[in-house]
Symmetry: C2
Subunit: 399 residues, 2 copies
Amino acid sequence: MKFSPQDQIKQLTQHTAQVLPQAELVKKLERKKPLKIKFGADPTAADLHLGHAVVLSKLRQFQDLGHEIIFLIGDFTARIGDPTGKSKTRPPLSEEQIKQNAATYLEQVVKILDKKKLKIVYNSKWLSKLSFADVLKLCGKVTLARITERDDFAKRIKSNTAIGLHELLYPIMQGYDSVELHADVELGGTDQTFNLLMGRHMQEQSGQEGQIVLTMPILEGLDGTEKMSKSLNNYVGLNEDAKQAFAKLMSISDKLMWRYYALLLLKSESEIKQMQQDVKIEKRHPMNLKKTLAFEIIERFWSKEDALEGQQNFEAIFQQKDYSQALQVKISNEISSPCWIVDLLKNTGAVKTSSEAKRLIEAGSVSINNKKVEEFHSQANWKQGSILKVGKKKIFKLI
Amino acid sequence: MKFSPQDQIKQLTQHTAQVLPQAELVKKLERKKPLKIKFGADPTAADLHLGHAVVLSKLRQFQDLGHEIIFLIGDFTARIGDPTGKSKTRPPLSEEQIKQNAATYLEQVVKILDKKKLKIVYNSKWLSKLSFADVLKLCGKVTLARITERDDFAKRIKSNTAIGLHELLYPIMQGYDSVELHADVELGGTDQTFNLLMGRHMQEQSGQEGQIVLTMPILEGLDGTEKMSKSLNNYVGLNEDAKQAFAKLMSISDKLMWRYYALLLLKSESEIKQMQQDVKIEKRHPMNLKKTLAFEIIERFWSKEDALEGQQNFEAIFQQKDYSQALQVKISNEISSPCWIVDLLKNTGAVKTSSEAKRLIEAGSVSINNKKVEEFHSQANWKQGSILKVGKKKIFKLI
């Protein structure tokens, strides 16, 4: 432990949403022994994105300070699937699938975490051994009122949406994982606060010292308003092409830039304040700071080579207007030429709705091979290699 | 099966509170195979009383018609105890205690049921083998809303009284017992309706034909208003001295007599109507009908000899005023002579409250050795063998 407890606390609590309770984290650090940091993940075939990187980056910080990360794969639930028997949304996964998903997950995780300092565990190891009598004893440690405080349960009760009795047992399982692991700290997004606190509760009920619950804010997506998510298409995937990721990062607002500096690059508040001051007195240009941000994020989560390439590519396309390197977008075979411009725009993913397309066209922000599209209700001619521009930031080479 | 399905239905549905659904019971009976009738009991050291005899008598009727009674001892829960860990009210019982309690229970049960036609099972046999995964699957068959419909849960939620999560699993267990037993019918008091329906639900969810739920009314105690229970001291215990039981039965109101005829002796409605008509036209005296009731109950649940002795004893004391055979009551050593009359009355159990004692004394209904007690605030002299009369029906020999 090369850093003092005080130094560690300063770093670790920075940019967190909550540390419950902070005083106990100090106490644990003062023992000067590596802490056990729990982080749980579902072995569903997930494409991780920068939203996930927020918690992973905080975990990396713990790792760098000498603590042990226990990466828990929640294979037990996945193996059972959704037991309602009514919904087909969550069929049980085979052991083979779970292993493969876990591997995919870990491949992405080690872009951020140090592989060598990672302990990987599967909760089926202990959960599959529990008997009904054990389950009853665990359940006896929690009241119904406490469980139904959980936000999504509370909402569903209010709106009369069915809750399967088994769902109430899931927080119990997560909590029991902490007991088995003797976790000192558990990390998650703020949407996980309830489940993490359940771990603390279950540990205390079992005579252990309760874990510290450390939550990180939820990262806004590229649009700056909604939570980053794949389904909203406002994300940068950890497996994405670095050039594309660089360009996407360059499209965020100046305001969002500070947030990404804090949560993805873990810059301290004073560093951020200094940069903001520099912008204010026109010492530095926001565009340059954004390039630095994009460069450092790609360098951190991809590689330095990727970052250099991403920057070159961005500068060629957006600054030198050399579109030969523009992002290639495969257009579906169903879209012929000519076709309705709105269909083409939707197919690239540049717009999500017709009204969005209409607004952009009417603002004169859409062009094909530098020829502005004038009418919303019009046909567009395009071919392999055509350059489609949508607004200032989206430039695609159609293939 | 010597009775036709139609004859059986007529007998079996008589005096029931509910048969859910009756049409299905007909269908099951029409298959002309013995039905599996489930009845569950907690292996707590219980003194059974005539309140329990209502359901047991209905079970005996099923037995007499050729059906199989499965007497389920709920040893699994008893072995776990109350897992809250906070309340000491329900400590786990040892296997030894459970066996002994079950034996005590069965000794009393076979006063009503035919021992030779009784299948006894313990639910730990299957419940102790369930894994966490099995429990999750079972829980997935039930919604939270459904479980919290149960009367006592609903009341506790409304009054913010804590419900341990494990408590929600108890109906699931009872329900799963029905699945394991492939029960055709389950019997219980009306207070058990929810749990019995859960058995039906769980069977249907498991692809079985759902059991019929047959509930019996709750028997009023000797006071004619409250439910018969030991704690209210308005009961006749199955292990009680037959002479005492006979005298207690003679103390009930005329109105309650019809209820006991129906629920304990299973007299048909037409038989009861005939008796009521006979009283109305003064062909029979209610006192004689009550003697017949007491005689037949003692004959049924004790023996014919007990019934004869009980009747002789009652007639000697209450009709020939020969108190030598009066019910002996042991007075606590703490009660000296003389003592406050109110303390003496309470000690015999004849009254529960001081105000009840006051009312009876002021009405001139209390005497010791035929000497009326005049004052509520007075001392009473008594000795071994003194006869204490409280009202018309309670006559004790103090020892």
